[in-house]
Symmetry: C2
Subunit: 247 residues, 2 copies
């Protein structure tokens, strides 16, 4: 991409603040793959010269991208495109018995390619009927089931996960998504609510049907803002615990 | 306080990074009342000269205090001591029927001076038996009770609240704490969990005894780090909703 094209991207959005438009132009370069996740950005001086803006404007644009979580500054090293989030474990919403330091096991209970229902299509932002991969995953602590996760992934991105034995999958999914499918999850939104377990859900968690549960619905997004995962996680409401600090 | 005393505060903490010790010295000046909430700090150059440190060290110390929420930078205006948090309404954890823009009413149901029980003493960080003010407050939306809040305040700080008719109190408590009692809440930690309502709690909320509820336990702190409020808020679990974004 030439510097005149970069400039055009800035000028095109006349209604936007100059540095916000500039941030969008830089984001577009990241999304286009010019600087892959983990790579360093050129110096602020060089970027300012390329985009023909003042150094102060470029700094504000970069600050905005830091706030948005696209890039990060590492003191004394430079500015880098973020690798994506590691997971944001659902376990952070719960306190199960036995020390919190234990690594939970992961068991894929079901894996199937299905057509997206209306609800799944809305959650994933695809057309109803589109092929999606449905996974039912159980998380266990000390052999005891604690969380039941139902997740849907667009099949065009996640076809490699339809092959091989899921017993060999990593406990942390996002690094595996990146390695096997080239999908980097950069942002996730968790919506926490309350509900009761259906009989099949309760059976997986070794609880009674209609037992109170907390439901966490997650939408996860890649660099381009595409929704790449929709997930419902259920766990015993009595084990729910979350801390929020306000300053 | 002379500049040699400021310096002594820095040198005393030899194990700490220089700018972290400097941040503590600045915090001590704020806590001592040298710069009240809302006031502007002197320029970075002046502060650096007073503390006999490089400008870069002073900037890092100020950055740390911004991160800690003690001060804030207002673009083009300067650096200010924060006024404290406005409230962090418990309503952000719930979705009740009828548009979310409505201002909830507040009704003080009970107000009494009591001796701190063991649990209250632990929550507030005072000795058991210390005099505390107990408030039971109901929040209503469109005349419908939605949240029940039980709060405890150390009586030595909040004596002015034992006088007058609480019907005239503001719906937002923290600005009133500041105005009437000179207590600025600078940090609050909310612990969210699940429970069931006792019969008296349920009666206030017009629900059945043993109805599932979400319990938010809050500890609120002033500038010095003293716990100035301990509060339990209960609301219908079915109305619970909270969103967390990970980037």
């Amino acid at each position: 991409m030439s510097s005149s094209q970069h400039l055009a991207l800035v000028d095109a959005s006349s209604g936007m603040r100059r540095y916000a438009a500039l941030a969008n132009a830089l984001r577009a370069r990241v999304v286009a793959g010019e600087w892959p996740p983990g790579s360093a950005l050129p110096s602020e001086n060089l970027l300012a010269a390329e985009h023909q803006v003042a150094l102060g404007t470029m700094r504000r644009a970069l600050e905005l991208l830091v706030e948005q979580g696209l890039i990060e500054r590492i003191h004394g090293k430079g500015t880098f495109v973020r690798q994506g989030i590691a997971g944001g474990s659902m376990l952070r919403f719960f306190r199960f018995g036995g020390g919190g330091s234990e690594v939970p096991q992961s068991r894929i209970v079901q894996r199937q390619s299905v057509a997206a229902t209306t609800a799944v299509a809305r959650g994933l932002g695809v057309a109803p009927g589109e092929p999606v991969l449905r996974l039912l995953r159980l998380r266990l602590l000390a052999g005891q089931p604690c969380l039941l996760e139902e997740m849907w992934l667009p099949l065009d991105l996640f076809a490699p996960l339809t092959e091989g034995d899921p017993a060999g999958w990593d406990d942390l999914l996002y690094p595996m998504f990146a390695r096997r499918c080239g999908v980097h999850v950069h942002r996730a939104v968790d919506q926490i609510g309350f509900g009761v377990l259906t009989a099949p859900q309760a059976a997986h968690l070794r609880l009674q049907a209609s037992h109170p549960c907390v439901v966490v619905e997650r939408s996860a997004y890649d660099l381009t803002g595409r929704c790449v995962e929709w997930r419902s996680t259920r766990g015993d409401a009595h084990a729910f615990h979350y801390q929020v600090t306000i300053t």
